[in-house]
C-alpha cells in the first residue's frame, strides 16, 4: 500500500501560481493550508510538498521526492542526476521561457563577455555562470548572490547574471543587457529509481499527459465553423495542422461543419481569413486540455 504513493514537489515562489493553475486545469485541486509546506491534493495517490525550486532537483536526485516541477535553470545549476520527463513550457508570466542575462551598468566600459576578464560577477546561478565563462574562455570571479542581484553593480560587482522577465527591474537599476546566458523553461523531472517502479512510472506518465494537455489547453482555443462545399478544400488547407479537423456534412444543406482547434495567436489571423473565404457561423470557445 505504501508503495502506491508518489511524492511530488511543486515550486514555491515565482512558479507557484502558474503551477497550481496548470494542475487545476489538469484535474487536480491543490490547497495550501496556512503556512504548511505539505499541500492538500485531492488525489490520495499523490503526496504533495511545496519547496523552493532550487532544492527540488536535489531532493529528487536523492529520492526524497519521486517527481517534481522545477525550472530548467535550477536543474542544471544543481547538477542533479534526474530523469527529465517533459518540458512543460510554462513560466511565471506566460507560456514562455525565462531568460538569464549578463548585465552591467549602463556606463560600464565592459561591452561584451570578453571584457569580463579578472572582473567579479554576482549571480544566483554560480555553476551555470562558470560554464558560461568557460565556454567563452574568460577568467573571472563568480560570486554567489542571495538575491536582489540587480542592485549590485557597480559598487559590489562589475557585472551580474540575473533573471529577466520584462526588463523593468534591470532598467530601474540602470543596467544594460550584454548577452543571454541561459534560457530556462519549466520541467517535470523524476528520480531515476522511481521510474524503474512500473506503478510509479505509469502514474507519473499519466500525470505528465494531463499536465502537458493542460499547458496546450491554455495555449489553444476551439473553433467551429460552417463551410460551403465549394470552399471546403481551401478552408482545410488554411487550418493549422496540429490536430485533425473534424468535418461533418450538415443534413439537407450544401454546408459542412468543421471543428478544429488552433493556438490563440494563430486564431487572430485565422478568424478574419476564414470569414473572408466565406465561412459562416464561426464560433470560438475556450479549451481545458488538448492532447494530440
Amino acid at each position: 500500500m505504501k508503495n502506491k504513493i508518489i511524492k511530488l514537489g511543486v515550486p514555491k515562489g515565482s512558479l507557484q501560481e502558474s503551477t497550481l493553475r496548470i494542475f487545476k486545469r489538469a484535474g487536480f485541486n491543490i490547497k495550501i493550508p496556512g503556512r504548511s509546506y505539505i499541500l492538500k491534493m485531492d488525489d490520495p495517490e499523490i503526496e504533495c510538498f511545496m519547496l523552493r525550486p532550487q532544492e527540488i532537483p536535489r531532493y529528487i536526485e536523492e529520492g526524497k521526492l519521486d517527481v517534481g516541477i522545477s525550472g530548467e535553470d535550477w536543474i542544471r545549476e544543481s547538477r542533479a542526476k534526474v530523469v527529465e520527463i517533459s518540458d512543460l513550457k510554462y513560466a511565471k508570466q506566460k507560456i514562455k521561457k525565462t531568460k538569464w542575462v549578463l548585465a552591467v551598468s549602463k556606463d560600464s566600459k565592459i561591452n561584451s563577455v570578453k571584457g569580463l576578464g579578472g572582473k567579479t560577477i554576482s549571480t544566483e546561478i554560480v555553476n551555470l555562470a562558470k560554464d558560461y565563462l568557460k565556454k567563452n574562455k574568460v577568467k573571472a570571479t563568480v560570486e554567489f548572490s542571495w538575491g536582489a542581484t540587480e542592485v549590485k553593480p557597480p559598487r559590489f560587482a562589475d557585472a551580474v547574471i540575473d533573471l529577466v522577465e520584462t526588463g523593468v527591474s534591470l532598467e530601474a537599476h540602470n543596467l544594460k543587457i550584454l548577452d543571454t546566458v541561459f534560457e530556462s523553461s519549466t520541467m517535470l523531472i523524476a528520480n531515476v529509481k522511481t521510474m524503474e517502479d512500473s506503478w510509479k512510472r505509469e502514474k507519473i506518465k499519466s500525470l505528465n499527459l494531463l499536465l502537458e494537455g493542460a499547458v496546450e489547453g491554455e495555449r489553444m482555443t476551439g473553433l467551429t465553423l460552417d463551410v460551403p462545399r465549394a470552399i471546403l478544400k481551401k478552408v482545410l488547407k488554411v487550418l493549422p495542422a496540429m490536430l485533425k479537423p473534424t468535418v461533418t456534412k450538415m443534413p439537407n444543406t450544401d454546408f459542412y461543419n468543421v471543428f478544429t482547434s488552433a493556438s490563440k495567436v494563430e486564431i487572430r489571423k485565422l478568424v478574419p481569413k476564414l470569414k473572408k473565404l466565406g465561412c459562416e457561423g464561426i464560433v470560438e470557445y475556450p479549451l481545458r486540455k488538448v492532447i494530440p
Binding site: 489538469a26 484535474g27 487536480f28 485541486n29 485531492d42 488525489d43 506518465k205 499519466s206 499527459l209 494531463l210 494537455g213 489547453g217 476551439g222 490536430l243 485533425k244 473534424t246 468535418v247 461533418t248 456534412k249 459542412y256 471543428f259 482547434s261 470557445y285 475556450p286 479549451l287 481545458r288 486540455k289 488538448v290 492532447i291 494530440p292
Partner: protein, 308 residues
C-alpha cells in the same frame, strides 16, 4: 435590508402577477450563489450596501437573506420560492415543496452532516443515556424531531455560535454541522449519532400557493433546471476525440454513462469523432486510458450546463 422594510417592499410589489419573488441564501454562500446564477446564464450580482440583488430577468425578484430566514419566509408564503439547504428546510418545518435538488453550493464544498456529539470521556455512551441531559444546538427543530423519534426526553438549548466549545461546560451534548470532523476532534468530541446526511445540499423550493399558480410553477421549475444544469456543469467537462473503427468498442466501454456519446463518422475515413461529457475527476484516469487505447486529437473543454 431589514426584515420589516423588505416586507413592505414585498407587499408593494404583490400586485404584479408575472413575477416570482425568489430567495437567495447569503453568508458563506454568497460567492457560490453569484457563480451559480452566472453559470446558469444570468447577469447576477449581489451588492452589499445597500443590500440588493441585481438580476437581468424582470420576471425574477431576488431577495437575499440568511438561509434559515429564507426557509421561514418561503414557508410563510412571503416569498414564492428560493434556494435553501436541507438542514434549513427541515429546521423551518415549512411545507414548502422541493422542486429540484442542486447539491452542494459549489464544487469545492464537501457535503456536511448534522451530528450529535458528546465529550470523549462522557458517561453518555448511547442515545438512551441522553435522557434528562442538556443538548446545545443551533438546530432545535431537527434536534427535537430526532429526540422525539427516538423517544428520548432531554432539554434542548439554543445557541448560535461555537457550540462545540460549550460542551461539557454548558451542556452535556451538542448537535452541530460536521464536515471533516476536525472541529469535533479539536474539542475532544465523538459522534454518537448522525441526524442528517448531506445537510448543506441545496434545493430549489416553492411555497404551495406559488406552486398552484401555473405561471409561477413553470418559472420556478425552469429556473431550477438551469441552476441544477449549471451546478452539474461545474463538475463536468466536455470531451472530444478521434478513434478508429477497431478502437470504438473499447472506447465506448471506457466512457462514463451519464450521456450517450455522440459518434460521427469522419468523412471518407475509417475514423470516428466521439463527443461526450465526463466528471472532471474521472478524466484523470480516463484521458490516459483513451490515449492508451490509441485515441488521437483528444480535447477537453468547459461546459456551461449539463441537463440530464
Amino acid at each position: 435590508m431589514p426584515y420589516r422594510q423588505q416586507n413592505l417592499f414585498l407587499q408593494k410589489n404583490m400586485a404584479k402577477e408575472n413575477k416570482i419573488k425568489f430567495g437567495i441564501p447569503g453568508g458563506a454562500l454568497e460567492e457560490s450563489m453569484e457563480r451559480l446564477f452566472q453559470d446558469a446564464g444570468y447577469d447576477f450580482k449581489i451588492k452589499k450596501a445597500p443590500l440588493l440583488v441585481c438580476i437581468d430577468d424582470p420576471e425574477i425578484e431576488c431577495f437575499f437573506d440568511r438561509a434559515n430566514e429564507l426557509a421561514f419566509l418561503i414557508g410563510a408564503g412571503i416569498l414564492d420560492g428560493g434556494i435553501v439547504s436541507r438542514a434549513a428546510l427541515l429546521e423551518s418545518k415549512s411545507d414548502a415543496k422541493e422542486v429540484c435538488l442542486i447539491g452542494t453550493p459549489s464544487f469545492d464544498w464537501k457535503s456536511s452532516k448534522v451530528v450529535l456529539a458528546v465529550p470523549e470521556k462522557s458517561s453518555i455512551k448511547s442515545l438512551k443515556d441522553l435522557r434528562g441531559k442538556q443538548i446545545i444546538t443551533r438546530l432545535p427543530g431537527i434536534t427535537k424531531d430526532f429526540l422525539k423519534k427516538n423517544k428520548i426526553s432531554a432539554t434542548v438549548e439554543v445557541s448560535h455560535s461555537s457550540n462545540e466549545a460549550k460542551v461539557p461546560e454548558l451542556a452535556d451534548a451538542v448537535v452541530e454541522f460536521a464536515n471533516t470532523g476536525a472541529t469535533l476532534q479539536f474539542y475532544n468530541l465523538k459522534v454518537l449519532a448522525v441526524l442528517l446526511e448531506d445537510a448543506n445540499a441545496l434545493s430549489v423550493i416553492a411555497h404551495p400557493k406559488a406552486w398552484k399558480n401555473n405561471w409561477k410553477k413553470e418559472k420556478i421549475e425552469s429556473l431550477g433546471i438551469l441552476l441544477k444544469g449549471a451546478r452539474i456543469a461545474q463538475e463536468y467537462s466536455g470531451l472530444m476525440l478521434h478513434a478508429s473503427n477497431d478502437m470504438m468498442e473499447e472506447v465506448l466501454k471506457a466512457l462514463p454513462a451519464l450521456k450517450k456519446p455522440t459518434v460521427t463518422h469522419l468523412r471518407g475515413e475509417n475514423w470516428f469523432d466521439v463527443f461526450t461529457v465526463a466528471p472532471k475527476k474521472d478524466l484523470r484516469r480516463l484521458i490516459p486510458r483513451l490515449k492508451e487505447i490509441g485515441c488521437t486529437d483528444i480535447i477537453e473543454f468547459d461546459l456551461s450546463k449539463v441537463v440530464v
